[in-house]
Symmetry: C2
């Protein structure tokens, strides 16, 4: 029997415009040992609570065989999440909480809840590439909003967009935003909450870094408009990414549909992982773990600030982030950071150029770069920035 | 600030027709301890290799912290899967294997790869409800194919459908099909492979039970048309469901897009679980585990056969399945099994009535029921069927 080639397979239309993901390539690249990666948002592996995970595993095994069985979502873990949300000033109920396999699954589920093909969505001009990937199959109409370099998303533009264009949602990271690494103040949060409710446009508040505030922790937008905000939380940056446990706090009336989407994605059951995280949280380690992370990452951030000040100060401008894993820097001269990356790769240094974050071709900028300080060691941060400075000189000489 | 109710939230159109999932309710129901559940396809918890999982966990912890970090898919585990596929007679390459969070995620990813909104798909008239749930957001045009009670899917109808209607795919369970519990013979498999290649219609071969053949194991359709079959495998029924590890063996040319879909679903990384399953498989337990399961489930099947013969023989007809977790039974009289379920619930016995499997309103039948023999004990099987017989008498008397 002569079988025909699989090139004849008819795939969905969106696939035709599906270049390899930049982040995927970087993830593969940054695992090369000799490289200094300032690229991805990986947490510091040394801070994973490995010892407690081991203890938690023993606790889970002591329960009974059903921890390895298909199971409904774990109510006890939802209670922990409720408590954790209260630490951020958000009062919510267990029946608003959907346990997920991490924040990216939260994004994937909520977009499927809210979008039709070609729906309109509102995004800052630069945004988390994982969001764009999740949007791609919908081929959405993207409405772009400007971001001010010091203060964040332009609220007047948000209001105009909500009023005139009624997008299906606005996606936002309010704490240590990606890639700008800006954190909105309380007034901005309240205003966004007001706009969402007033114009009936839901906000997807993706919050991977909210607990990692190195100055004054703030309450998420969710606090100010429970019915209009889908809050996405995750233990990935707080405990360990490979456990793949996160959560959504949703408007209560959407929970049945979100549960159904979750069920058809993976049958609702990473119950073993849920039990493991639950057993970890039973040990009351959460708040001390957060404090450890804050202290550590604040030092890492300061190390990156010092290195940038020492080696690149006359070339770039940046703000010191109060939250998150990144510093966002702009070159003052017309430097193309994608070309700079090509130079820095020769020096085994990798970062993410601004081009990778553009949500539409028109919103592309070329003179920015996102630098991570959570994953590399202090030595690697300083050495990485030193080499980046050499790469810059090489680029300018070209 | 007066916030408006979330009833004003505009959700995607498909949500309007999204009744609660029957399976979800049954899962919640069947966890009530006093119930006898012949409903869901849960594996027997006593056969989970808990002791080996504990050892595997120690092995994983001994590796290094990076097992808890974001990581690319685990190549070693793909090698195990390649070996496992070879046990079924399928030669494949690691670069055709996508690791998933279980078979349902496989379904979810492949449907997103192949479907547009309103695409046409070919299905047997009764099918796995989890498939229908995954299809719902696409509001597809469903082309139904008849299934013969003894021999399975009508291949002439498949050919006509492929030739005249060119569906985006045919979905099929070839081994211990759900709900009919039929297993196709080798000629039928070869014919399906031929039709897929000839008419360029891919087949999604969902294979949760293929290793659990109690008579003569057969090779999947994938063996006969590598380029036209998306094979979905899972460790859920073979090791433990809550580990959430499964795989797809796809036509090689689609792998980049499938990886991208996987990444935007949950960032490709249940790496901890992948390491755990990998460490388990390193212990060479797979083949003996399969043998244990086969022996155990064959006895369970025989117990259900005997109970049906003893208590319901004059009322129903059924075939003895060579594979899988279920017996599919039809009532000879005009019995509505959804109404029978209402009666049996009074006796604390639950099963899945045929109505739950209809892929379109027109394909609904009312006189069938799916009975599970993998989860209940032998005592519960016999007691459950005894009570079902009483429920039937109560229904007839009404």
């Amino acid at each position: 029997m002569q079988l025909r080639s699989c090139e004849h397979l008819k795939l969905a239309d969106w696939v035709k415009n599906n270049p390899p993901s930049v982040m995927e390539e970087l993830l593969a690249g940054s695992s090369k040992e000799q490289w200094i990666s300032l690229a991805l948002g990986l947490p510091a592996a040394a801070l994973f609570p490995t010892h407690f995970i081991e203890e938690a595993f023993e606790d889970v095994l002591a329960l009974n065989h059903s921890v390895f069985q298909y199971q409904p979502p774990l109510e006890e873990l939802k209670s922990h999440v409720k408590h954790i949300m209260a630490l951020r000033g958000v009062q919510c109920h267990e029946d608003q909480i959907l346990l997920t396999a991490g924040a990216q699954q939260g994004i994937s589920l909520i977009t499927r809840l809210l979008l039709e093909a070609q729906s309109r969505v509102a995004l800052e001009k630069l945004a988390y590439p994982g969001l764009l990937q999740a949007l791609k199959p919908f081929t959405p109409d993207i409405l772009t909003i400007n971001t001010h370099m010091k203060t964040g998303i332009d609220l007047d533009e948000v209001e105009t967009a909500f009023k005139r264009k009624r997008p299906a949602f606005l996606y936002l990271v309010a704490d240590g935003g990606n890639p700008h690494s800006l954190t909105l103040n309380d007034e901005q949060r309240k205003k966004l909450a007001y706009l969402a409710a007033e114009y009936e446009v839901p906000i997807i508040e993706d919050d991977p870094y909210g607990f990692l505030n190195y100055q004054q922790p703030r309450s998420p937008i969710k606090k100010y408009a429970d019915d209009w905000v889908f809050y996405i939380g995750s233990f990935s940056k707080l405990l360990a990414p490979a456990l793949r446990v996160g959560w959504i706090v949703a408007p209560q009336c959407t929970m049945r549909h979100l549960s159904s989407l979750k069920e058809c994605s993976d049958i609702n059951t990473a119950s073993f992982n849920h039990h493991l995280v639950n057993a970890l949280l039973n040990k009351n380690i959460f708040e001390s773990q957060i404090q450890t992370l804050r202290n550590y990452y604040a030092k890492q951030r300061d190390c990156l600030v010092n290195s940038l000040t020492q080696y690149l100060t006359s070339d770039i401008t940046f703000s010191i982030p109060e939250c998150g894993f990144f510093i966002w820097a702009y070159f003052l001269e017309k430097i193309n950071t994608s070309r700079l990356l090509q130079e820095s790769l020769k020096q085994n240094v990798v970062f993410v150029p601004s081009e990778a974050f553009a949500v539409t071709p028109d919103s592309t900028i070329y003179n920015g770069m996102r630098l991570n300080f959570s994953y590399p060691s202090e030595y690697e941060i300083e050495e990485g920035i030193k080499r980046l400075s050499l790469s810059l000189q090489a680029l300018i000489k070209e």
